[in-house]
């Protein structure tokens, strides 16, 4: 079970195939992409009606297609995140929002009114979360990690944040593999059915060991950095240039945002 989970996680983060494809978004400058994604998300979370969001849905579907990302896969991947975050939070909304009553029923003496406004709010909220995540994932899928770091650097993200992100990215795979190997090693020595308590104990041991190893690795990595003259500041050279297509992309994004905001005012729902 744990094995499958780890493998799935690894698949999920092994997103390094798509950034190398020769699609539309892959060619856009990472700084522009990061910036555009940020404003898109701001627009999404401040939109209060569903119609304007539909425009952004059509937009992201088009972007996905021209970036040569398998659409069905992409939609599924984004949707996996939704039940966890949005679903649970919004579950009470249809019942506690006052408004036009669709149906009402009573549980254990409480009477609950399912309202039209409530359902609308729930759909709206979930849709907004869904779209925000979709735009984020699309950004990640179409941007090489180093370029993302570069963009963060140029957009003046804090040094330490960038460095931590970079090291996290580098070692997450190593740790996944390490825990995977430890779990395999454990399973290869198990010859009878295990009680739940035993499984929990072993898991605890594995996690503990992982932490100690992580700590020691951290120390060694720091040594490796220091040996090469690291003194608290990450330096870089980079040669990315803004092209016409980047500016076009940015203008396009801003246009879409503007239309969305406009629709948000004009539309009833």
């Amino acid at each position: 079970m744990i094995k499958e989970l780890l493998k799935a996680f690894e698949d999920l983060v092994y997103l390094e195939r798509y950034p190398l494809l020769n699609g539309y978004l892959q060619k856009i400058d990472p700084r522009i992409k990061l910036f555009a994604t940020a404003i898109l998300i701001i627009v999404i979370v401040s939109t209060l009606k569903i119609t304007p969001l539909l425009l952004l849905l059509i937009t992201i579907i088009s972007f996905t297609i021209v970036s040569k990302i398998p659409l069905k896969n992409f939609l599924i991947r984004v949707t996996i995140f939704i039940p966890i975050f949005a679903g649970i939070i919004t579950l009470p909304l249809p019942f506690i929002t006052p408004g036009l009553i669709l149906t009402s029923f009573s549980i254990a003496g409480f009477s609950l009114n399912l309202t039209y406004e409530g359902v609308y709010k729930m759909i709206l909220f979930t849709f907004r979360v869904w779209l925000s995540i979709a735009y984020l994932i699309l950004l990640i899928l179409t941007t090489k990690f180093t370029n993302m770091l570069y963009a963060m650097r140029r957009l003046k993200f804090p040094q330490i944040f960038i460095m931590l992100t970079s090291i996290t990215y580098r070692f997450i795979f190593t740790f996944i593999n390490e825990s995977y190997r430890m779990i395999l090693a454990r399973e290869s020595r198990i010859t009878s059915k295990q009680r739940r308590l035993d499984i929990m104990r072993d898991l605890g041991n594995i996690i503990g060991t992982l932490f100690i190893r992580a700590y020691e690795r951290g120390e060694r990595v720091y040594f490796a950095m220091v040996s090469r003259g690291y003194s608290g500041e990450i330096k870089s050279i980079n040669k990315l240039k803004i092209h016409v297509r980047d500016v076009i992309f940015l203008i396009l994004t801003i246009l879409i945002c503007a239309v969305t905001i406009l629709l948000n005012y004009l539309m009833v729902i």
């Binding site: 180093t146 580098r170 490796a224 040996s227 090469r228 003259g229 870089s236």
Partner: protein, 280 residues
């Protein structure tokens, strides 16, 4: 007169948890030498190497590198001149791509952009990895990672190159390749090579002189053939002599051949001895 690359006088190192990893270590390594620190697991090899570029600080005794005492004010200068290749390449390669790892050192040295790029390419070329520069390190094979780790140190143009177990876990081809790269560096750039290993068979390929380390103490020192053919000493250091040496020792013991010289420690030396015996 030869200049000293590394000098240790009565050095002792105790880890914070109280474990005495090194005691009374004395050694002198000259510029341009190829030296190997040979010892079993846990002998203190890695600890000794880390004292050289000041990653650890000796609890007693002095360490000098290229005439500079290894301490606070000299550390930056020393690290600039000493390249360090760690035992585990996964510790050495911490950037998202190989290229960034290779230029990490040169960037920290404050070199110009052109110089940084030049050194990056040069280092990757020296280890034959120029085609993999944009790959993330976690996608490289172990042999590639080891070579990559060496490239990250080479890019800084070190005068002294320190390698901790460079051949551990390598396949025979990777092994030969690595030996070739190291010797080329020694020949072309006059780099002082200091290697720690528990693999006695590689010692003759990458060194002229050897220090035997056991339980934190230097138990033997000298030219390669002198030390490695000394079976008593090798056993005392908890090591096994090279296969070829064991073979000759047994042949002598069984009276099959007579040898009034040192036992051979490499195949070439063995061939020479056999030729000599045939002639007589």
């Amino acid at each position: 007169m030869q200049k000293l690359a590394v000098e240790m006088n009565n050095v002792e190192f105790i880890y914070p948890d109280g474990l005495r990893a090194l005691s009374d270590v004395n050694l002198k390594i000259y510029e341009g030498e190829r030296v190997v620190i040979l010892g079993p697991n846990g002998a203190g090899k890695s600890t000794l190497l880390m004292l050289i570029n000041g990653l650890l600080k000796s609890t007693r005794g002095n360490v000098y590198v290229l005439g500079l005492s290894v301490e606070g004010k000299n550390l930056m200068e020393i690290r600039r001149r000493v390249g360090f290749v760690f035992q585990n390449p996964d510790d050495q390669l911490f950037c998202p791509t190989l290229w960034e790892d290779v230029i990490f050192g040169p960037l920290n040295m404050g070199l110009s952009k052109d110089e940084v790029e030049y050194r990056g390419y040069e280092a990757l070329k020296a280890v034959g990895l120029e085609n993999l520069k944009d790959r993330p390190p976690h996608h490289l094979s172990l042999g590639e990672k080891k070579r990559a780790a060496i490239a990250t140190a080479l890019a800084m143009h070190p005068q002294i190159l320190i390698l901790d177990e460079p051949t551990a876990n390598l396949d025979p081809l990777g092994y030969i390749e690595l030996v070739k790269i190291l010797n080329q560096l020694h020949k072309e750039r006059k780099v002082t090579l200091i290697t720690a290993t528990c693999d006695i068979n590689i010692a003759p390929l990458i060194a002229d002189r050897v220090y035997l380390l056991n339980k934190g103490k230097i138990v033997g020192e000298g030219l390669l053939r002198e030390v490695l053919s000394n079976l008593k000493l090798i056993n005392y250091a908890n090591l096994q002599p090279p296969i070829i040496t064991q073979l000759f020792a047994n042949l002598v013991k069984l009276g099959i051949i007579k040898l009034d010289k040192l036992l051979p420690v490499t195949i070439d030396e063995a061939i020479n001895e056999i030729m000599q015996l045939k002639k007589d």
